[in-house]
Point group: C3
C-alpha cells in the first residue's frame, strides 16, 4: 500500500461545467498504483465538483440553469456583496454540491459508471485558475 | 494496511429511499479488515446516496416530497427530455445529494451514529439495477 | 502507511455555523502522520459539514438565511413533526450538504485553500453535543 499526493490546475473562463475526467485519467496513468482510491479535493469555495452524465451536453445546460434559478445572483439582500454579485451565490451553489470526491480505481483507471464524468462546476463569471489536490491510495 | 475492492448490486422499483445499511454490514462482516474506512461509490447519475435517520419512515417520505417540489418533473423547458420527464430531474436531485460516502469502520462494523442509515435514493420511475463500488481500507 | 481512528466532540448552542478547522488542526498536530488524508464523519442526521470561506462572517450569515428560506420550518405538512418543527427541516438541510469530508494533509497540516474553513452546520435550535469520527491515513 502506498500513496501519492499532487496538485492539478484547471483554467476556467466563466460559469459552467468543465469536464476534468480526462485530466484525472492522464494523471492517473502516470502513477505507479493500479488499484485503490483517488480523492479529488477542490481548494476553492466559489466553485465545486459534480459527477454527472457526460454524453448529452444538455444535461449540463439544464443543471446550470437550475442552479441559476435556485440561487439567483440578483437577489436583494446578500450581506456579502463586496466581491461582486456572483460571489455569494457561488458560495451557496458550492455548498449545495461537492468540494471533494473519492473515486475507485481499478486496472489503473477510474472505475466510473458508463456515463459518469467528473466536472468542475465554476460559479464565478471571471476567468479563474482552480487548484485540485489529489490523493491516490492503493497498490 | 490492506484494501478490498468489490461491487454490490441493488435493485430498485421506483422513486424513493432504499436502505442499504444491512447489505453493507453483511458485506463488511465477510472482510478481513476490522478497523478502517469504507468508501461507497454509486456508478450512476440518476440515483444518489444519502445518510439519514432510519427510525421513522416519515423522514424519508418528507425528504422525497421536498425533492419532488424543489426539482419538479413537469417543469417546462428542460432541454434534456429524450429519456423521459423523470430523467433530468433525476440528474439534478443526484447533484444535490451524494454520489459517494466514506464511512468509518471499527470492530468490523460501520461506526455510524445511533440513528444513521445509508440509503440509496432512487430518482427514476422504472425498475433499475444499481451498482455500488466498494473500497475498504484498514487493518 | 498507517491509520488513526478517533472521535472529537463539539458543543453547539443553536442553529448556525461553527468553525472546527482549529479543533481538527490541533488534533492533527498530535498525530504521527505528516502526509495523507483526513476523513471527518459527522455521526448525526440533523447537523452537517460544509467547507466554506472563513474570512467574512457575512458569508455564513447569508448561507444560513438561504437554507432557512429553501427549507422553511413553518411549512405545513411535514409528516415527521414529533421531534419539533426544526427537526424535519434539519434532516433535509443535512441531506443538501455533507455528512463526511476527506481533506488532504501535507507537512502535518490540513492542505486547505487559502480561504477555506471546515464548519459544523448546526440545524437544531437546542444545544447539542455533536460527535465527529476521524480517520487519518498516511505516513
Amino acid at each position: 500500500m502506498r500513496q501519492v499526493l499532487d496538485e492539478l490546475e484547471i483554467g476556467t473562463c466563466g460559469q459552467g461545467f468543465y469536464e476534468v475526467t480526462g485530466e484525472l485519467a492522464r494523471w492517473l496513468y502516470r502513477q505507479p498504483i493500479r488499484r485503490g482510491l483517488l480523492t479529488v479535493f477542490l481548494k476553492h469555495t466559489s466553485a465545486s465538483l459534480v459527477i454527472q452524465e457526460n454524453v448529452d451536453a444538455d444535461v449540463q445546460a439544464d443543471m446550470a440553469e437550475f442552479f441559476r434559478r435556485l440561487v439567483p445572483e440578483d437577489a436583494a439582500g446578500y450581506r456579502h456583496a463586496a466581491e461582486g454579485p456572483d460571489d455569494m451565490p457561488a458560495h451557496i451553489r458550492a455548498a449545495l454540491t461537492q468540494t471533494q470526491l473519492a473515486l475507485p480505481v481499478t486496472d489503473g483507471r477510474l472505475a466510473l459508471g458508463t456515463y459518469q464524468g467528473v466536472f468542475l462546476f465554476e460559479h464565478r463569471r471571471s476567468p479563474k485558475r482552480r487548484r485540485l489536490a489529489l490523493h491516490l491510495l492503493g497498490e
